[in-house]
Amino acid sequence: MNTTSLKNFLVSFSGIAVLLFLYFPLVVIVLFSFNADTVNSFPIQHFSLKWYSVLFRDDELLQSIGTSISIALISTAVALLIGIPAAYAMHKYDFKGKKLIDKIVLMPITLPGIVTGVAMLSFFPFVGVKISLTAVTFGHITFLCAIVVTQMLARFKRLDPYLEQAAYDLGATPSATFFKVILPNIKTAIIGCVLLCLVLSMDEIPVTFFLIAGNNTLPLEIYAMMRRGITPEVNAISTLIFIFSTTAILLSMRLNKEK
């Protein structure tokens, strides 16, 4: 073996090793979710969808899915209503402090979730929001806004600036221009953004953990189930979440790439 092919071999070997390291646990979970036995052991003796049917009879789990979906839908909707106009304004107008906002807008995401969580935990009661699912929703809105603003700002920057001018030129007021020309042209980016927000909200633990009272969200419910040991039911729900998230993220990436 000469040096080049050795180098190639090492590169592809380490690449595959990293992929294995990342995805092997996922593969195991997906496989075990179809295991009829209660004990996770190889080789799998009997394949079955038993755990999926157990899943759909677990009322607490189903309720937590409902809670998570409601929080995700509400916080995504509010984040869009705040984030899209904010991104549009940041794209369109030059104002004092724009550079600063540009830099700190991502803070809620880049800061460790635990910091944001603790901060909100002490701040929300201060402004009269009790620790509750409402507080969780506010918490999600905060970091989703950051996502929406950055994603939409990137889209606005790629938009042909002359489209807006052409609309004005033809007699469209700024609001008509926004709704008839700007919005339809960033539609796919918005859909992509929605998918991303839904996934991030459904998946969020640290902020939720600090603010929650009453019913669990899905990730916290799974966490609670795990304390009773890794049951095959957890494998099944993890597999479903994995499929849902991957599909949504891939779709979101595609839509955001579109012109």
């Binding site: 042909d160 002359y162 489209l163 001018q165 004005y168 030129d169 033809l170 007699g171 469209a172």
Partner: protein
Amino acid sequence: MSILIIKNADKFYGKNHVVKSLNLEVDDSEFLTILGPSGCGKTTTLRMIAGFETPDKGSIILKGEDITYLPPYKRHVNTVFQNYALFPNMNVSENIAFGLQQQKKDKATVDKKVTEMLAMVRMSNFAKRKPAELSGGQQQRVAIARAVANNPAILLLDEPLGALDLKLRKQMQFELKSLQQQLNYTFIYVTHDQEEALTMSDRIAVMNEGVIDQLGTPEEIYNSPSTEFVAGFIGDINKLSGKVTAQNELVCNGQNIIANTKNIPNGKEAKIFLRPENIFITQSNNGIPGKILQTVFAGTHTKLEIQLSDGNIVHINEPVNSERRYTHGDSIHLEVKQHTAIIFE
């Protein structure tokens, strides 16, 4: 009558003085071209008329009304953008209908106008296509139809043919010119292409570094440029040097030339600008002596590069069917057509 008056307009971008105390009066129904090199302030001027920029000083008056500070959507002018800026989410018909819908015209009126516009630019068969499914020339036509549909007092066009290939550009020049005559609209057309300006315009405003050097018909601009910049920018020209010997008389390489010397005093050095078509090779021996440096075949004529005795270089066009052929090194004499030289101090 002037439909548009720009009075003493100044525009700064930071410290950059882009348009300098500009005055311009545009006549009703004329094809006026703003011509100048890239970066001289043409687009900025047009954008001030459209309302996308506000002059720092001066005013803009449309049909007697001061529109200097009116937002673009309240101005009765429309623009054809260089990149067309068609709305990608709308098809051809919807693009054309957009302006009319903003004016809250009823559907029947809009439909009728759209049909008419489609026919005007020969795009009726493409009404349902999206802009991305059209060629450059077709997008160009839609952009024109969309702007004209609003019945603007003035149509503004910023290098609208810049993105098209040469052949299509020539064809569109004709189409635009005949469209303007047929509609009897006022066009303000921006270009850096002097040939385009000469063939299309009723009048040309030659712009240089934020100032209009000369405003006149293509003939005036071509035959009697008022500044050296205009003389050099429009058409091919040769720069010679000589001396004024009397009112309207000069001497150049020992030969007398008769031309308008304006008020340059006797005995003064002068620059002599000559179009190639006004210099000929003469068979007699009393012309400006020179030597052929190069000959280049160019289809209908041969381009000759000639060095004069004082070292200046002259380019002339010799018809290919002339009896004599010239080659490198030939000694010849040149004759200048009287009253055609343009003289600057």
